[in-house]
Protein backbone atom coordinates (compact mmCIF):
# COMPACT_ATOMS: atom_id res chain seq x y z
CA UNK A 1 0.00 0.00 0.00
CA UNK A 2 1.15 3.47 -0.55
CA UNK A 3 0.95 6.16 2.02
CA UNK A 4 0.18 9.75 1.33
CA UNK A 5 2.59 12.39 2.66
CA UNK A 6 0.00 13.41 5.24
CA UNK A 7 -0.14 9.90 6.57
CA UNK A 8 3.61 9.66 6.67
CA UNK A 9 3.79 12.85 8.65
CA UNK A 10 1.14 11.59 11.00
CA UNK A 11 2.98 8.33 11.46
CA UNK A 12 6.08 10.30 12.28
CA UNK A 13 4.29 12.39 14.82
CA UNK A 14 2.66 9.29 16.29
CA UNK A 15 5.99 7.64 16.71
CA UNK A 16 7.44 10.70 18.34
CA UNK A 17 4.44 10.91 20.63
CA UNK A 18 4.90 7.35 21.70
CA UNK A 19 8.58 7.80 22.31
CA UNK A 20 7.71 10.70 24.55
CA UNK A 21 5.01 8.72 26.26
CA UNK A 22 7.23 5.75 26.89
CA UNK A 23 9.91 8.00 28.24
CA UNK A 24 7.50 9.77 30.52
CA UNK A 25 6.13 6.50 31.76
CA UNK A 26 9.36 4.61 32.11
CA UNK A 27 11.77 7.05 33.62
CA UNK A 28 11.77 7.97 37.25
CA UNK A 29 13.73 11.15 36.80
CA UNK A 30 11.31 14.03 36.88
CA UNK A 31 13.30 16.05 34.36
CA UNK A 32 13.14 13.26 31.85
CA UNK A 33 9.45 12.85 32.43
CA UNK A 34 9.01 16.51 31.69
CA UNK A 35 11.09 16.20 28.57
CA UNK A 36 8.95 13.24 27.49
CA UNK A 37 5.88 15.38 27.86
CA UNK A 38 7.68 18.05 25.90
CA UNK A 39 8.23 15.56 23.10
CA UNK A 40 4.58 14.67 23.06
CA UNK A 41 3.74 18.32 22.70
CA UNK A 42 6.10 18.58 19.82
CA UNK A 43 4.45 15.63 18.18
CA UNK A 44 1.17 17.46 18.41
CA UNK A 45 2.75 20.49 16.81
CA UNK A 46 3.99 18.35 13.96
CA UNK A 47 0.42 17.23 13.39
CA UNK A 48 -0.71 20.83 13.13
CA UNK A 49 1.89 21.59 10.54
CA UNK A 50 1.18 18.39 8.65
CA UNK A 51 -2.48 19.11 8.39
CA UNK A 52 -1.79 22.71 7.50
CA UNK A 53 0.56 21.65 4.77
CA UNK A 54 -1.13 18.52 3.39
CA UNK A 55 -4.64 18.82 4.71
CA UNK A 56 -7.74 19.10 2.59
CA UNK A 57 -8.40 22.82 2.72
CA UNK A 58 -5.37 24.68 3.91
CA UNK A 59 -6.27 28.03 5.22
CA UNK A 60 -3.56 30.62 4.90
CA UNK A 61 -2.13 30.71 8.41
CA UNK A 62 -4.28 28.87 10.95
CA UNK A 63 -2.03 25.88 11.43
CA UNK A 64 1.02 28.03 11.79
CA UNK A 65 -0.62 30.28 14.29
CA UNK A 66 -1.67 27.29 16.33
CA UNK A 67 1.86 26.05 16.50
CA UNK A 68 3.19 29.44 17.46
CA UNK A 69 0.85 29.66 20.40
CA UNK A 70 1.47 26.06 21.29
CA UNK A 71 5.24 26.70 21.40
CA UNK A 72 4.68 29.70 23.62
CA UNK A 73 2.57 27.68 26.02
CA UNK A 74 5.09 24.87 25.92
CA UNK A 75 7.84 27.28 26.85
CA UNK A 76 5.82 28.48 29.81
CA UNK A 77 5.10 24.94 30.82
CA UNK A 78 8.75 23.99 30.61
CA UNK A 79 9.74 26.93 32.76
CA UNK A 80 7.19 26.15 35.45
CA UNK A 81 7.84 22.44 35.30
CA UNK A 82 11.52 22.79 35.75
CA UNK A 83 11.01 25.24 38.55
CA UNK A 84 8.85 22.63 40.21
CA UNK A 85 11.60 20.10 39.73
CA UNK A 86 13.95 22.36 41.57
CA UNK A 87 11.40 22.83 44.34
CA UNK A 88 10.95 19.11 44.66
CA UNK A 89 14.67 18.60 44.77
CA UNK A 90 14.94 21.09 47.55
CA UNK A 91 12.40 19.15 49.56
CA UNK A 92 13.43 15.59 49.12
CA UNK A 93 16.98 15.90 47.93
CA UNK A 94 16.26 13.91 44.81
CA UNK A 95 14.00 14.16 41.85
CA UNK A 96 12.44 10.76 41.72
CA UNK A 97 8.90 11.17 40.64
CA UNK A 98 7.59 8.11 42.43
CA UNK A 99 8.70 9.56 45.71
CA UNK A 100 6.90 12.81 45.15
CA UNK A 101 3.64 11.46 46.47
CA UNK A 102 2.99 13.72 49.39
CA UNK A 103 0.05 15.34 47.67
CA UNK A 104 -1.91 12.12 47.43
CA UNK A 105 -5.31 11.93 49.05
Amino acid sequence: MSLSPLQLCLLFSSALFCVGLIGALARSNTILVLLGVELMLNAANINFIAFWRFGPAPSPATGVMFVVFSIAVAAAEAAVGLALVIAIYRHQKNIRLQEAVRLKG
Partner: protein
Protein backbone atom coordinates in the same frame (compact mmCIF):
# COMPACT_ATOMS: atom_id res chain seq x y z
CA UNK B 1 8.26 10.93 -0.58
CA UNK B 2 11.41 12.85 -0.21
CA UNK B 3 14.55 11.40 1.19
CA UNK B 4 14.89 14.55 3.28
CA UNK B 5 11.76 13.80 5.24
CA UNK B 6 12.90 10.31 5.98
CA UNK B 7 16.26 11.45 7.20
CA UNK B 8 14.70 14.14 9.34
CA UNK B 9 12.27 11.71 10.82
CA UNK B 10 14.86 9.07 11.54
CA UNK B 11 17.23 11.56 13.15
CA UNK B 12 14.48 13.08 15.25
CA UNK B 13 13.02 9.81 16.41
CA UNK B 14 16.38 8.19 16.96
CA UNK B 15 17.81 10.95 19.04
CA UNK B 16 14.58 11.24 21.04
CA UNK B 17 14.51 7.51 21.71
CA UNK B 18 18.13 7.38 22.74
CA UNK B 19 17.65 10.47 24.90
CA UNK B 20 14.83 8.81 26.73
CA UNK B 21 16.86 5.70 27.42
CA UNK B 22 20.17 7.17 28.53
CA UNK B 23 21.13 7.28 32.18
CA UNK B 24 23.23 10.39 31.90
CA UNK B 25 20.98 13.39 32.05
CA UNK B 26 23.43 15.74 30.34
CA UNK B 27 23.62 13.37 27.40
CA UNK B 28 19.92 13.04 27.32
CA UNK B 29 19.50 16.78 27.25
CA UNK B 30 21.98 17.18 24.45
CA UNK B 31 20.33 14.47 22.39
CA UNK B 32 16.97 16.09 22.93
CA UNK B 33 18.37 19.32 21.57
CA UNK B 34 19.21 17.36 18.45
CA UNK B 35 15.75 16.00 18.33
CA UNK B 36 14.19 19.42 18.64
CA UNK B 37 16.46 20.65 15.92
CA UNK B 38 15.18 17.78 13.78
CA UNK B 39 11.67 18.94 14.35
CA UNK B 40 12.67 22.43 13.33
CA UNK B 41 14.07 20.91 10.18
CA UNK B 42 10.75 19.20 9.59
CA UNK B 43 8.99 22.54 9.87
CA UNK B 44 11.39 24.00 7.33
CA UNK B 45 10.78 21.06 5.05
CA UNK B 46 7.09 21.55 5.38
CA UNK B 47 7.38 25.18 4.46
CA UNK B 48 6.67 26.78 7.79
CA UNK B 49 9.76 28.81 8.15
CA UNK B 50 8.54 31.04 10.91
CA UNK B 51 7.58 28.15 13.05
CA UNK B 52 10.88 26.48 12.39
CA UNK B 53 12.74 29.48 13.65
CA UNK B 54 10.48 29.80 16.61
CA UNK B 55 11.16 26.18 17.41
CA UNK B 56 14.87 26.73 17.20
CA UNK B 57 14.75 29.80 19.36
CA UNK B 58 12.46 28.48 22.00
CA UNK B 59 13.51 24.87 22.30
CA UNK B 60 17.02 24.65 21.06
CA UNK B 61 17.90 27.97 22.53
CA UNK B 62 15.84 28.52 25.63
CA UNK B 63 14.27 25.35 26.91
CA UNK B 64 17.46 23.42 26.51
CA UNK B 65 19.27 25.92 28.62
CA UNK B 66 16.61 25.70 31.31
CA UNK B 67 16.88 21.95 31.20
CA UNK B 68 20.60 22.01 31.54
CA UNK B 69 20.37 24.37 34.45
CA UNK B 70 17.81 22.16 36.08
CA UNK B 71 19.99 19.14 35.59
CA UNK B 72 22.96 20.84 37.02
CA UNK B 73 21.01 22.26 39.95
CA UNK B 74 19.70 18.86 40.90
CA UNK B 75 22.85 16.78 40.73
CA UNK B 76 22.49 13.65 42.75
CA UNK B 77 24.90 11.19 44.24
CA UNK B 78 25.49 7.85 42.61
CA UNK B 79 23.59 6.11 45.35
CA UNK B 80 20.54 8.13 44.65
CA UNK B 81 20.74 7.27 41.05
CA UNK B 82 20.39 3.57 41.81
CA UNK B 83 17.61 1.95 39.93
CA UNK B 84 14.47 1.77 41.98
CA UNK B 85 13.33 -1.78 42.77
CA UNK B 86 10.12 -1.45 40.78
CA UNK B 87 11.85 0.10 37.76
CA UNK B 88 11.65 -2.98 35.62
CA UNK B 89 7.96 -3.40 36.21
CA UNK B 90 7.39 0.23 35.41
CA UNK B 91 9.38 0.01 32.24
CA UNK B 92 7.46 -2.99 31.07
CA UNK B 93 4.21 -1.23 31.85
CA UNK B 94 5.40 1.85 30.01
CA UNK B 95 6.39 -0.16 26.98
CA UNK B 96 3.06 -1.91 26.95
CA UNK B 97 1.09 1.32 27.28
CA UNK B 98 3.25 3.07 24.74
CA UNK B 99 3.17 0.15 22.36
CA UNK B 100 -0.58 -0.02 22.60
CA UNK B 101 -0.85 3.69 21.93
CA UNK B 102 1.50 3.37 19.00
CA UNK B 103 -0.40 0.47 17.55
CA UNK B 104 -3.71 2.20 17.94
CA UNK B 105 -2.41 5.44 16.46
CA UNK B 106 -0.77 3.70 13.54
CA UNK B 107 -3.85 1.69 12.93
CA UNK B 108 -5.95 4.81 13.05
CA UNK B 109 -3.71 6.75 10.73
CA UNK B 110 -3.35 3.95 8.21
CA UNK B 111 -7.00 3.03 8.16
CA UNK B 112 -8.35 6.56 8.26
CA UNK B 113 -9.67 7.68 4.89
CA UNK B 114 -7.70 10.89 5.03
CA UNK B 115 -8.22 13.17 2.10
CA UNK B 116 -5.26 13.38 -0.24
CA UNK B 117 -3.65 16.78 -0.45
CA UNK B 118 -5.76 19.04 -2.56
CA UNK B 119 -2.94 21.24 -3.77
CA UNK B 120 0.53 20.04 -4.34
CA UNK B 121 2.00 23.51 -4.14
CA UNK B 122 2.85 24.60 -0.65
CA UNK B 123 1.21 27.64 0.75
CA UNK B 124 3.74 30.02 2.08
CA UNK B 125 3.03 32.50 4.77
CA UNK B 126 5.05 35.64 4.88
CA UNK B 127 6.16 37.20 8.13
CA UNK B 128 4.07 40.22 7.37
CA UNK B 129 1.03 38.05 6.97
CA UNK B 130 1.84 36.40 10.27
CA UNK B 131 2.21 39.73 11.95
CA UNK B 132 -1.16 40.89 10.64
CA UNK B 133 -2.79 37.68 11.69
CA UNK B 134 -1.29 37.89 15.15
CA UNK B 135 -2.26 41.45 15.73
CA UNK B 136 -5.60 41.13 13.96
CA UNK B 137 -7.49 37.92 14.15
CA UNK B 138 -5.57 36.43 17.04
CA UNK B 139 -4.93 39.56 19.03
CA UNK B 140 -6.82 38.29 22.03
CA UNK B 141 -4.96 35.02 22.03
CA UNK B 142 -1.68 36.85 21.76
CA UNK B 143 -2.49 38.98 24.78
CA UNK B 144 -3.53 35.93 26.76
CA UNK B 145 -0.38 34.09 25.83
CA UNK B 146 1.62 37.08 26.91
CA UNK B 147 -0.11 37.15 30.25
CA UNK B 148 0.33 33.42 30.57
CA UNK B 149 4.03 33.64 29.92
CA UNK B 150 4.45 36.42 32.41
CA UNK B 151 2.55 34.54 35.10
CA UNK B 152 4.39 31.33 34.33
CA UNK B 153 7.78 32.97 34.54
CA UNK B 154 6.88 34.74 37.77
CA UNK B 155 5.63 31.47 39.14
CA UNK B 156 8.73 29.68 38.08
CA UNK B 157 10.88 32.25 39.81
CA UNK B 158 8.88 32.01 43.01
CA UNK B 159 8.90 28.24 42.95
CA UNK B 160 12.58 27.98 42.34
CA UNK B 161 13.62 30.65 44.77
CA UNK B 162 11.59 29.68 47.85
CA UNK B 163 12.95 30.20 51.30
CA UNK B 164 16.39 31.15 50.24
CA UNK B 165 16.64 34.11 52.59
CA UNK B 166 14.33 32.76 55.33
CA UNK B 167 16.13 32.11 58.58
CA UNK B 168 15.04 28.76 59.94
CA UNK B 169 12.18 28.86 62.40
CA UNK B 170 10.81 32.16 61.20
CA UNK B 171 7.48 32.31 59.49
CA UNK B 172 7.95 32.49 55.75
CA UNK B 173 6.94 35.63 53.87
CA UNK B 174 3.52 36.05 52.46
CA UNK B 175 4.32 34.49 49.13
CA UNK B 176 5.93 31.49 50.70
CA UNK B 177 3.07 29.38 52.05
CA UNK B 178 1.47 28.48 48.77
CA UNK B 179 4.87 27.60 47.45
CA UNK B 180 5.61 25.35 50.33
CA UNK B 181 2.29 23.76 50.02
CA UNK B 182 2.54 23.08 46.36
CA UNK B 183 6.03 21.70 46.60
Amino acid sequence: MSIAFLIIALVTLGSAAVAMSLRNLIHSALLLIASWAGIAAFYLWAGAEFVAFAQLLVYVGAVSMVVLFAVLLTRQSRVDMAIAPDALRRIVAALLAGGATLGVLFGAVVSAPLPIAASATPVTVSVRQMGQELMGTHAAALLIVGALLTVALLGAIILASTGREDPPGVAPPAVAPPTRKTS
